[in-house]
């Protein structure tokens, strides 16, 4: 992970003049989404600038949707007091939803916390918890992977039978081997050579 430069950002939770004739006050929620440059190293080497334009910020499950300004700031207007949920949708990054309390009693006071890990935020700066890699990474070609494939195993098994088995046989006591051969002959077990065409001629 690249170093994240600490950026002093402000969260303004300003009370705004009442919107309609309704008695409820309406507030604005302002914040910032920050995607640290260099976090994108795993994918493309750099975070594409165009990507910022595809980030959406959603309030309360899509009740309000807003977009980011070039500097990453966003704002929701005319929000009633209460506890709200802000989600950030950005392809390639995982953001935790944020719980934001908009208080009617003391406007300007903000309480925000990540719901995933219950971490409190002193200011509404949202950063991705991690990057999301949507594709499996193809492992580079290796002899092992070829050997591990069914075909490789078949060849390996055959080779083992063809070359290791005779070795095993060779290491046996010649006496014992002769006895085993006798036994096999008497039982009439066909040898490999007799199975093959031409083998029966012997």
């Amino acid at each position: 992970m690249a170093a994240v430069t600490p950026l002093l950002l402000l969260l303004l939770l300003s009370s705004a003049p009442s919107f309609s004739s309704g008695s409820r006050n309406a507030y604005n929620i302002n914040g910032r989404v920050k995607i640290p440059q260099g976090l994108g190293l795993g994918t493309k080497g750099y975070a594409l600038p165009g990507r910022m334009s595809n980030v959406k910020v959603l309030l309360n499950g899509g009740q309000n949707i807003t977009f980011l300004r070039p500097d990453g700031y966003f704002s929701f207007h005319n929000i009633p007091a209460g506890t709200h949920l802000i989600e950030v949708s950005a392809i390639g990054y995982f953001f935790s939803p944020v719980r934001v309390d908009v208080s009617a009693r003391n406007p300007g006071k903000v309480q925000a916390a990540l719901t995933e890990n219950r971490k409190g935020l002193s200011e509404l700066v949202l950063e991705p918890l991690r990057e999301e890699q949507y594709y499996e990474i193809r492992e580079p070609f290796s002899i092992m992977s070829l050997l591990k494939s069914p075909m490789g195993l078949m060849v390996g098994f055959m080779l083992a039978v063809a070359f290791l088995m005779p070795k095993l046989v060779e290491n046996m006591d010649p006496e014992e081997m002769r006895r085993a051969q006798e036994e096999m002959r008497s039982q009439g077990v066909p040898s490999l050579s007799s199975l093959l065409p031409g083998g029966a001629m012997n």
Binding site: N60, G61, T66, F67, I91, G92, T115, Q133, I137, F141
Partner: protein, 985 residues
């Protein structure tokens, strides 16, 4: 023993080497999936063609999309989908580099950077009251080098700086009953006129200095006849309005602050009257149009405010906005449909008699009428003006016309899909010719050699490109015949425009499209609405020669007692077989599990008066139906009253006109939820066509549990009345959510669970014997997903093998829902990070493959989540036996694994629904997600255990076999030689 262990090792190796992918490699994108981007029906378009660079057009649509399109090919440069309650009121281009959008009833103004779509600024506009929203971007109005945007919304006039969105000045129009109709900015002046009506008979005019918002003049004049509808500006200081009867045209002039009315009865202009008229506003100087029933009349206003009819036509006519051409002249276009062609005329505003351009363009009948037209000019090589026209058709498609040709077209109707069903493709009948096979074999081998080179890393970059294009262009997948695995199908979709499309699952191309006449606006039916699609005829056993067909159900108008309309469409040819206008309404449609001898499925339509109507109306169908009369039950949900009712049939309709297919119904039971504490927010049942492989579930220690599988289970979620609003509007103490499982035959509540401190929205999915639902937990302030599994206890004693052998089990005893069910439920809840738009579950042909939940997240992605994560038997420390069974240790939240997003790095913007269809291959299911975008892919929830993957390398297999044969012959000759030598010894 050693051999055995070796064998086990071998098998293990074998399986581990089979591709363990649930997810994709990046180079596999587009192999089985496709993604299509749409916009929706265009409601406004602004051209950007001033510079010599790219020719572009900005559009806003009814799906709340703002997008920049390439004018040459119609491709999307960028696109933003605004929220569903952030409806776009107007768009324009300012400073030549910003796209300005006004949305949310005129309260949000945004500027987007034209080349890349980055939002530049956003401002929130407020006002004293609700009103019409108008956006005006004057080109020549400057305050200190800053262009301004004039917005009238919510009863307030705002001037906003183009550069940073600051409000420069604002002016309220507080008048109690004032309804502002138009804001006019005469070109070349610093004045703004705001005109409107007050108390229905007063015409008000305000003259405002555009530079500082100062009110210069305010005049009002009464007109006893009152006003109706909209006004159309004809000159910068003259508007045209209609009186309240809609029979007299008023020319209102407010030159020099003096308001004067001039009345012209429409009957003076046209001889035969057609009833009340409606003004179609246009921005063309001196021209406006009125519409009376189906007749469109174009009227010219002369300099002395005299009205003159210039055209009267029965054809639906669309008029474009004014396009300034040289020397202060304006051009505009008129377009009409006549038979197979559309006629386009471009005229100068002050010269009606001559046409600048007159073209006829051949147009597909199934695009319907022309709804909108936008024109733009370009300078030809001979310095004369040429015109291009962007037209929006009745089926919501967008086309660019130039020089009498269709340059490009976009099927934007596909952005608003109402319902989806599938149909099989025809069976391949003709044998494949031998020559073709040989050619294919060679190609096939060549392809696999290339692939082998790829795996061995021997391929050059050209080879890699060739491999990739070969994989993507696999012609097999877009063939028009049925395939062995059942991957190729037709997706039949019904769009809001009343058009049916058949999309091929292979590559998503449109096979046919059909504009349903029954869902088009007509004299009888002013506001037709498409409702549902059903499979009407699925020939398989004894009707193989018939083509499959679908049933399209629509109704006339939004009210519940509006008469319905049916259409039957052949899915192979895309032709309408027949259509019916019903006399009764359609409140509910029940596809019955019975088919007649031609494989037509019986459907029961319930109308608003609770009568049931059977379709098809054949004697055969009636006789089948009467046999099953007592076995048909259904339920209805009345959300507003909080009542769920169960119904059954009583017999033929009595009293009314003798109708063979009409049946009376009776109410069996009803569940009334206390209206002061519970409100129904979600009801879900199992999919009708779902297949369950086995009722038994073997759990750890060889125990068996029996799933309670009933087609008649209904999941209902209710919330406290206070908690039915948005998140953040209630405290956890005053909100709760109750989930019910109800048997819809008897009305018995099988299970009830309360989640305190929780609220909606609830999204749920019901499959086999379980239901999974997603809701918001206010205490933790996180979303939660809960699972309820229901098991049948009455069969629990069947575990004994001896009982089974001796036949003392009750497995074959008939199940009646009237007998008291002995069920137990198991449930568990987990946290889930995201908001959810929709949930679906995978379905396979035989139901053997394990299930995955497909979760459409708020970010418009589709996440596949294994059902095993939502197993109520998960514990913190599963025993060894449970681990072997596949139980995952308990965690408090559900994992989000990025690789299991089935949409990978794509978004299905405006996601609305996910449909899963089983393929013929048991392991595979087809997934179709639709919203503004369409996305299709194949999924294998338990991996493709029954077929080789596409990645399987046949060349490697061949080489292995060759190598083995070579090795065998080599060792054989070696052993021969050895034997010979031994014999010589």
């Amino acid at each position: 023993m050693a051999i055995r262990s070796f064998l086990i090792l071998f098998i293990l190796f074998f399986f581990s080497s089979l591709n363990p992918i649930l997810s994709l490699y990046e180079d596999q994108v587009g192999l089985v999936d496709w993604h299509q981007q749409y916009l929706g029906k265009v409601k406004q378009a602004v051209f950007h063609t001033h510079k010599t660079g790219r020719k572009r057009v900005v559009v806003s649509t009814e799906e709340n999309v703002v997008a920049l399109l390439d004018l040459r090919q119609g491709e999307i440069f960028w696109r933003h989908v605004l929220g569903s309650n952030d409806v776009i009121d107007g768009i324009d281009i300012a400073l030549g580099k910003y796209v300005i959008t006004l949305s949310s009833g005129g309260s949000i103004l945004r500027a987007w950077n034209l080349p890349d779509g980055q939002m530049v600024w956003e401002s929130s506009l407020r006002g004293p009251k609700h009103s019409k929203s108008l956006l005006l971007v004057p080109t020549n109005l400057k305050i200190e080098k800053d262009n301004i945007v004039i917005i009238f919304s919510n009863g307030r006039l705002n001037a906003v700086s183009c550069i940073d969105g600051e409000v420069l000045w604002e002016k309220d129009f507080e008048g109690e009953s004032l309804e502002v109709q138009q804001v006019i900015q005469p070109p070349g002046s610093n004045l703004i006129y705001v005109v409107g009506f007050a108390s229905s008979s007063l015409f008000e005019m305000y003259q405002i200095n555009a530079l500082n918002g100062e009110l210069l003049k305010h005049e009002s004049a009464a007109f006893s006849g009152g006003f109706l509808g909209e006004v159309s500006p004809v000159f910068s200081e003259t508007v045209v309005a209609l009186d309240s009867t809609g029979l007299i045209l008023l020319t209102v002039s407010f030159q020099n602050g003096m308001i004067s009315f001039q009345q012209t009865p429409i009957s003076n202009l046209v001889k035969d009257s057609f009833g009340p008229a409606k003004i179609i506003p246009s921005s063309v100087t001196g021209i406006f149009a009125i519409k009376m029933n189906a007749v469109t009349i174009v009227i010219r206003v002369t300099d002395e405010n005299k009205l003159e009819v210039v055209e009267k036509t029965n054809h639906e006519t669309s008029i474009s906005d004014a396009l300034p051409v040289s020397e202060g002249q304006q051009a505009f276009a008129l377009v009409q449909r006549a038979g197979p062609e559309i006629h386009l005329r471009v005229k100068l505003a002050h010269n009606w008699d001559d046409n600048l351009l007159k073209e006829s363009v051949k147009m597909d009948q199934h695009r319907g009428l022309v709804h909108k037209i936008y024109i733009n000019n370009y300078i030809r090589t001979d310095k004369s003006y040429g015109f291009r026209a962007l037209i929006v058709m009745e089926d919501h498609s967008l086309l660019l016309l130039q020089q009498g040709e269709i340059v490009w077209s976009r099927e934007d109707g596909l952005a608003s899909i109402i319902d989806v069903t599938t149909s099989e493709l025809p069976v391949e009948r003709d044998g494949v010719s031998v020559a073709k096979v040989e050619h294919n074999l060679f190609e096939w081998l060549k392809g696999h050699m290339l692939k082998l080179k790829g795996t061995l890393m021997l391929a050059s970059p050209q080879d890699i490109a060739a491999i990739q294009s070969m994989r993507l262009k696999n012609s097999e997948k877009s063939k028009m015949t049925r395939d062995h695995n059942g991957f190729r199908k037709l997706l039949i979709v019904l769009t809001r425009a009343g058009k049916l499309f058949a999309l091929h699952t292979g590559d998503g191309h449109i096979v046919w499209s059909y504009l349903l006449q029954s869902l088009q606006k007509s004299k009888v039916c002013q506001h037709p609405i498409g409702l549902n699609l059903y499979k009407w005829q699925v020939p398989h056993h004894h009707a193989m020669d018939e083509n499959p067909s679908v049933l399209v159900i629509g109704k006339c108008g939004p009210s519940s007692d509006a008469p319905g309309a049916l259409s039957f469409v052949d899915t192979y040819t895309g032709k309408e077989l027949s259509s019916l206008s019903l006399v009764h309404s359609v409140a509910q449609v029940i596809p019955l599990p019975y088919t007649d001898s031609t494989e037509q499925r019986l459907h029961l339509l319930i109308d608003a008066d609770k009568h049931a109507h059977l379709y098809p109306k054949t004697p055969e169908a009636i006789s089948i139906f009467e046999r099953e009369l007592s076995n048909i039950y259904w339920y209805s949900v009345e959300d507003d009253n909080g009542i769920i009712k169960g119904h059954a049939l009583r017999g033929k309709c009595t009293g009314e006109v003798a109708d063979e297919v009409c049946f009376d119904t009776r109410e069996l039971w009803s569940i009334v939820f206390p209206s002061e504490s519970e409100k129904i927010i979600a009801t879900v049942t199992r999919k009708l066509n779902e297949v369950v492989h086995t009722q038994a579930k073997v759990i750890a220690d060889q125990e068996v549990m029996y799933k309670y599988i009933s087609r008649n289970l209904l999941f209902v979620a209710t919330v406290a009345l206070k908690g039915s609003g948005e998140i953040g509007s209630v405290t956890p103490e005053e909100s709760w959510l109750v989930a019910y499982l109800i048997d819809t035959v008897t009305g018995r509540i099988l299970h009830r669970v309360t989640h305190h401190g929780s609220q909606g929205p609830v999204h749920a999915v019901f499959s086999e014997n379980w239901v999974v639902y997603h809701y918001f937990n206010l205490k933790a302030h996180r979303y939660e997903m809960s699972v309820i599994e229901i098991y049948d206890q009455s069969r629990a004693d069947n575990k004994d093998v001896w009982k089974l052998v001796l036949g003392k089990h009750n497995l074959t005893s008939p199940i009646s829902l009237y007998s008291r069910p002995d069920v137990i439920t198991k449930s568990q809840s987990y946290f889930f990070t995201h908001s959810v738009k929709t949930i679906a579950v995978t379905s396979t042909t035989k139901g053997i493959t394990s299930k995955q939940l497909l979760i459409g997240t708020i970010g418009d992605q589709v996440l596949a989540l294994d059902k095993r994560f939502l197993d109520p038997r998960r514990t913190v420390n599963p025993t060894q036996a449970e681990k072997e069974e596949g139980i995952i240790p308990l965690t408090d939240s559900l994992p989000i694994i990025p690789q299991s997003y089935v949409t990978h790095a794509l978004r299905v913007e405006g996601l609305r629904g996910i449909i899963t269809v089983p393929a013929k291959l048991e392991s595979t299911t087809l997934v179709f997600a639709h919203g503004v975008d369409l996305f299709f892919t194949q999924l294998a929830p338990s991996r493709t255990y029954d077929s080789l993957t596409d990645d399987f390398n046949y060349a490697l297999l061949l080489i292995t076999i060759v190598a083995l044969v070579a090795a065998i012959s080599l060792t054989w000759t070696l052993s021969e030689r050895k034997e010979l030598q031994e014999n010589w010894r």
